[in-house]
């Protein structure tokens, strides 16, 4: 027979335990809800690519602030955990190891650029993480990782898609050019671009009459341009990073390069400071880009984002217009964030499956990934500079100075041909 006192003690104890359990779970939930979702990455904040890297970081911080204003992801605030990779690929593996093993980030995204993305791949692959990546050319061609997602709109065959438009445009011109010179910096990105150019030139019936590379530390480009001129090509495909792009453009002007098309894959001609300085030297160059203020590229949210970016970029010594990398840096965070919300969790397999199967609405338009993580359809724009005024930054905010020639569905004007008489 249970005594009344014992029963009451047992009931009281049960009640206390029940209250403790419920409170504990409530506290745990609250604590979990307050615990931020950490997104880790390295970024080029110093070194050769820092100009773009720092601009990308500003865009990512804008995304973080936008998301947190709406309550975060899964009701949790988003925190960015990042380290400067100094544009040095050797630092990247160590950084991602620290992010994952020490900082215990929940999600990772890549740094900027082919040379900085590739070294992180073995680490994210070993941990089976989803890896949204920012502007790497054909990085996944060797790895074939099914959780790699590239926000740069190169296309399903990035090496080929990158320059296909340039050679396609050339093929459509009258008189039809027949010969091509290819010159590239000795760096993975530029070499990948040159490899694609070589293949496209062959496929479209061009003869390659000059095909060389140069060390990135080259100071004077006039000997290179003279050698190209001596080979007498009809078109020239250049694959370079910013200081080399400036060197090639200036050397082409000084040598008086006489070709029908000049440009291709010159990183840097999308940057405001370089555009402003080169001014009329840019005229008639046909070069790649991913977004310009053309009527055909007026995506929902892009102008609002660019206004926020311009405000945030003031006084930070970065590209004031932010038309090249920042919109895509914002977009790859949008892809990741939307996937987390849609799958209601941080399960990497579910995130990857979602990213592969859905189309995302971003500030750079609709984004759909192919099986290899590249864009399902290329959107590498071929853009021609037209009537560029000297030392005028404002002209690059408006349509007309950068005319989209390719792909046809984004075209905003006709090509001026040839490059030089």
């Amino acid at each position: 027979m249970i005594k009344r006192r014992s029963f009451m003690r047992a009931s009281l104890a049960s009640g206390v335990i029940a209250i403790a359990l419920v409170s504990g779970s409530l506290v745990s939930t609250a604590a979990q809800a307050a615990k931020p979702i950490k997104i880790g990455f390295s970024m080029a904040l110093t070194g050769g690519l820092a100009g773009a890297g720092k601009a990308a970081l500003i865009a990512m911080e804008i995304w973080r602030d936008d998301i947190n204003k709406k309550g975060g992801l899964l009701g949790r605030p988003v925190e960015l955990v990042y380290y400067d990779d100094a544009t040095n690929p050797a630092t990247v593996p160590g950084i991602y190891t620290k992010l994952l093993d020490v900082d215990k980030v929940d999600l990772v995204v890549s740094s900027y650029g082919t040379n900085e993305i590739a070294p992180a791949m073995p680490i994210v692959m070993r941990k089976k993480l989803v890896f949204p990546s920012l502007f790497g050319l054909a990085v996944n061609d060797e790895f074939n990782y099914d959780r790699y997602f590239q926000i740069m709109p190169a296309g399903p065959e990035p090496k080929l898609d990158w320059s296909r438009g340039y050679f396609q445009l050339a093929k459509e011109q009258t008189p039809r050019p027949k010969t091509v010179a290819i010159i590239a910096a000795d760096a993975e990105f530029a070499l990948n671009a040159a490899a694609g150019a070589r293949a496209n030139a062959k496929a479209l019936g061009f003869d390659v009459v000059y095909d060389k590379t140069f060390p990135p530390s080259t100071t004077d480009y006039t000997p290179i341009v003279r050698a190209i001129q001596a080979a007498n090509p009809d078109i020239v495909y250049v694959a370079t990073y910013p200081p080399q792009s400036v060197g090639m453009v200036k050397a082409a002007h000084e040598v008086g390069l006489k070709v029908k098309m000049f440009g291709g894959c010159m990183v840097g001609l999308q940057f405001a400071a370089i555009q402003q300085n080169l001014g009329p030297l840019l005229d008639n160059i046909v070069n790649y880009h991913f977004w310009v203020p053309a009527p055909t590229l007026d995506f929902p949210g892009i102008n609002e984002f660019l206004k926020k970016y311009e405000e945030a970029a003031k006084g930070k010594g970065v590209d004031p217009l932010g038309q090249y990398l920042p919109p895509y840096a914002y977009a790859y965070m949008q892809v990741l964030g939307d996937s987390v919300e849609a799958t209601k969790g941080l399960n990497q397999a579910k995130l990857a499956a979602y990213m592969h199967s859905h189309t995302f609405d971003t500030v750079v338009g609709k984004v759909k990934f192919a099986k290899n993580g590249e864009w399902a359809k290329t959107r590498v724009l071929q853009v021609q500079f037209r009537n560029v005024k000297p030392n005028d930054l404002e002209q690059f905010r408006d349509p007309g100075t950068q005319v989209v020639l390719y792909p046809p569905q984004w075209k905003s004007g006709k090509m001026a041909y040839p490059y030089s008489e």
Partner: protein
């Protein structure tokens, strides 16, 4: 592919860029070549010179060369200060070899990071009306973007060499590395001489920096691309020899230009450093160095 105009242009381009290399290397020829101070931060100061030129060119429209010359005295005093620290911390206690090297590595990183913090990381370029002009001498092209740096570099190098070879202080600088005690017995304070020389070397980076940003865009870490080249030029020319450094700079410039034009630009550094190794194998003291 061999033609007279291509050959001539390759030669002229090589000489023009070689002149610029001499401007970058002359300060190192003094500190490393004559004072035995391994100033690995030297190219970083050249980049600082570029940024000073950019600031005054973009804000006030001043000519970059003018800025380089006007800022040189300030760079001199910075150089004097750095040497004082180096001397008191390392040279005086005989630790200059390894610790001194580490010191200048540290100076290099501090300079780079300071530039990033103050100016940001975007590429910087200067504007001047003459930078986009070209002249032709027959079939030889002469872009002012390279001719002006060559001319300024030539004047600066000649002035420094004349000073070092014709004045008492200049000859004291040449003497301090050879025989410090003898110099003391002649009434010159070796420490003050070295301090002056180091300041002079850093002063040259002000002008070299203004020439660098005239040739191409600059960002804070660009100096690293010139470390190997500048040291190679000083060693090739012969430690302590300014004329040797000039010849070496021109030689490297011409070799790079010829290789870029006729063989392929990717071979240029290999051939340049090959020339260095070959010269040292035949003449270990460099072209004009003392045996």
């Amino acid at each position: 592919m061999l033609s007279v105009d291509l050959l001539s242009n390759a030669l002229v381009a090589g000489v023009l860029i070689g002149g610029f290399y001499a401007a970058v290397s002359i300060g190192l020829a003094i500190t490393f070549g004559q004072l035995d101070i391994v100033n690995i931060a030297h190219p970083a100061f050249v980049v600082v010179g570029s940024y000073i030129a950019w600031i005054l060119n973009s804000r006030l429209g001043w000519d970059p060369v003018l800025v380089g010359i006007l800022a040189a005295p300030v760079f001199y005093f910075v150089g004097v200060l750095i040497y004082r620290v180096y001397y008191l911390a390392f040279e005086r206690t005989g630790q200059e070899s390894l610790s001194g090297l580490a010191f200048f590595f540290g100076v290099m990183f501090i300079v780079e990071v300071s530039l990033v913090l103050v100016y940001g990381v975007d590429y910087r370029l200067v504007s001047a009306a003459y930078l986009e002009k070209n002249f032709n001498l027959g079939f030889v092209g002469l872009p002012l973007r390279l001719v002006v740096p060559f001319l300024v570099a030539s004047v600066m190098t000649a002035a420094v060499w004349l000073y070092l070879s014709r004045t008492f202080t200049g000859r004291a600088i040449l003497a301090v590395a050879q025989d410090r005690l003898a110099l003391q017995l002649m009434g010159a304070d070796p420490v003050r001489v070295k301090q002056f020389a180091f300041g002079l070397a850093i002063a040259t980076t002000s002008v070299a920096g203004s020439l660098l940003i005239m040739i191409g865009p600059v960002e804070p870490s660009l100096g690293r691309a010139y470390i190997g080249r500048a040291f190679a030029i000083v060693v090739l020319g012969g430690m302590g020899s300014i004329p040797g450094m000039v010849i070496a700079a021109l030689l490297i410039g011409v070799v790079e230009s010829f290789v870029s034009t006729f063989a392929g630009p990717s071979w240029a550094p290999a051939v340049s450093f090959g020339v260095l190794l070959l010269t040292l194998a035949v003449r270990p003291s460099g072209l004009f160095g003392r045996s």
